[in-house]
């Protein structure tokens, strides 16, 4: 898992609310037994037509899409199925951060486990970002801030909250399993106490 501390780059905006994990990675791509190459199928039904040709004009098919590390999406991102393939597909495509005004529970957990940073902003802040497609922002996990400079030269620093343990692991690229591993004695004691 790649560590993430501070990242600056252009944002890519998907306005749609309630983007579910079936959109992020349709079920027909779930038969693989590893996550290699799964980014190629990210939003497959949005990006490609029935014959597999890219749909011209879709924002995810623009050359800038793969160079935008920060996805800003409509309210309630990642709802639905628990498939971890969803954050893997986003990472595989090149995203490192997803920002929304609400992120679904299982998707958020999965993202934190695989190194994709989920950021939830307040509705008005999120609404501002939704109007800034293509512009550069900074996400600072150390300071827990999203830093935005508007065209008028004004700047915003928006604090966000994140589970402290998730932050700790994401910033160091730590595998959470090691934490469970260290709890072996407690697990054994629990099992014996039942």
């Amino acid at each position: 898992m790649q560590a993430i501390t501070k990242l600056t780059g252009p944002i890519l905006v998907l306005e749609q609310e309630n983007i579910d994990t079936d959109q992020i990675i349709p079920a027909r791509f779930l038969t693989a037994t590893d996550f290699d190459g799964i980014g190629d199928h990210l939003f497959a039904d949005w990006r490609f037509d029935a014959s597999g040709e890219p749909r011209p004009g879709h924002v995810l098919n623009e050359p800038r899409a793969v160079n935008s590390p920060i996805l800003v999406a409509g309210h309630n991102f990642g709802c639905g199925s628990s498939r971890e393939h969803a954050p893997h597909a986003l990472l595989g495509f090149g995203f490192r951060v997803v920002i929304s005004s609400q992120i679904a529970d299982i998707f958020r957990n999965n993202s934190q486990n695989v190194g994709l940073l989920p950021v939830v902003l307040k509705a008005d802040q999120h609404a501002t970002l939704m109007q800034m497609d293509g512009e550069e922002i900074t996400v600072d996990l150390e300071a827990c801030e999203v830093i935005v400079s508007t065209a008028e030269g004004a700047g915003h620093r928006w604090p966000f909250s994140i589970d402290p343990f998730a932050r700790h692991c994401l910033m160091r690229g730590l595998d959470r399993f090691e934490f469970l591993n260290k709890a072996e004695d407690a697990i054994t004691a629990y099992e014996e106490s039942r």
Partner: protein
Amino acid sequence: MSAPESLFDKLWNSHVVKAQSESTPAIIYIDLHLVHEVTSPQGFDLLREKGIGVRRPEQTLATLDHSTPTLPADSEGNRPYYTGQAKRQVQTLRDNCREFGIELHDWDSPYRGIVHVMGPEMGATQPGMTIVCGDSHTSTHGAFGALAFGIGTTEVGHVLARQCLLQSKPKSMCINVDGRLPDGVTAKDLALNIIRYLGMNGGTGFVIEYAGEAVRSLDMEGRMTLCNLTIEAGARAGMIAPDETTIDYLRGRERAPQGEAFDRAAEKWLQLASDSGAEFDSEITLEASAMRPSITYGTDPGMSVDIGEAVPQADSLSHQKALKYMGFQGGQLVNERKVDVVFVGSCTNGRLSDLRAAADVLRGRNVAGHVRMLVVPGSESVRRQAESEGLHETFTTAGAEWRLPGCSMCLAMNGDLVAAGETAVSTSNRNFEGRQGSGSRTMLASPETAAACAVLGRVASVSDLEFREAG
């Protein structure tokens, strides 16, 4: 005296291996880990990578359901897998279960079925347990008074290896449903009404306990349908306190305690109910008598109306997009919609009572000529019982296809597809864009409603069907 606790508090507190701190989540012990072919391969890879085994293989139970064909094997025993990759995925689970000593319900098992149908049927799902699976509809098992929720593949690896999960305690919500559901209004309709009320994200961050007369009146299969759909309101887990209905269901099941041990367990299970005065972060009360048979018209499970009502006018860009995708216009009656496909099955509505309900509507009637109807039992046990009652003949005589158990057309990864542009009335759980195949349009409803739609070839309730026949 200690403070009153909710069912959820009791389940959580009794499984804490290490308490949550300001900087670390709790470590929660998992009693039952259910495994299927799609979300487990990379979890087993973690074990090999770390050179460790499965900590509690006897608390792990595997089945084949998602990628499996529902048409029978040919004369040489070859199953018609949709792709070579699907076949390899099934073989991978088989290999992993053999390597790590896990009980797998393969093609030859009399219990094989959709993971959330099989667990309860075998009595593996029990009150007071923590249950996880790499599948969001694990919430189903909460019907027994268990804390049950879906996890990702990394966490599947964690549970295989250490039988534990790192979790922060979610908030709690209690949904009281007062009164009685009117005749013909099912657990599915109740769930659709709750999701309509909460919205598809109203439960995010919460665990939901369902209570009240309408919930207590449901049988176990209805309770499973209700808890199953909890994730469609954004909550990872739904639960119902165990009562005599729960105990009657479990008595005598293969994996449940037997004899006196069962009676002792049952006594403990009845203690799990929320104490009077238990506090919840959120409490909601709904009235059952006002609910009617419902159906979804949009692309999330919160977008539903009573059958007979008009599709609401779009009030947002996303709503507008949903109507466009579904080919609906605001103000249009849902009943006008022509139906191409009807699917009865899934972990939501693929149990015996669901098949009986659909068969009751189809008996003596025919599926409309232009409709393709697929009936897929949730498990081998359901299939056996249905066939012993002759339900399969009712379905095939009416013109429906009777298939082998599996997830099938609910998520359409096994080749059971709805074509682009077609409308399917489905007893499953998600009406997302393309869920049943690229470009497919899904309308979620109860088995009774689905069968009525199949007969009339358009959206209709059972009473619409009866009214039309009487007229």
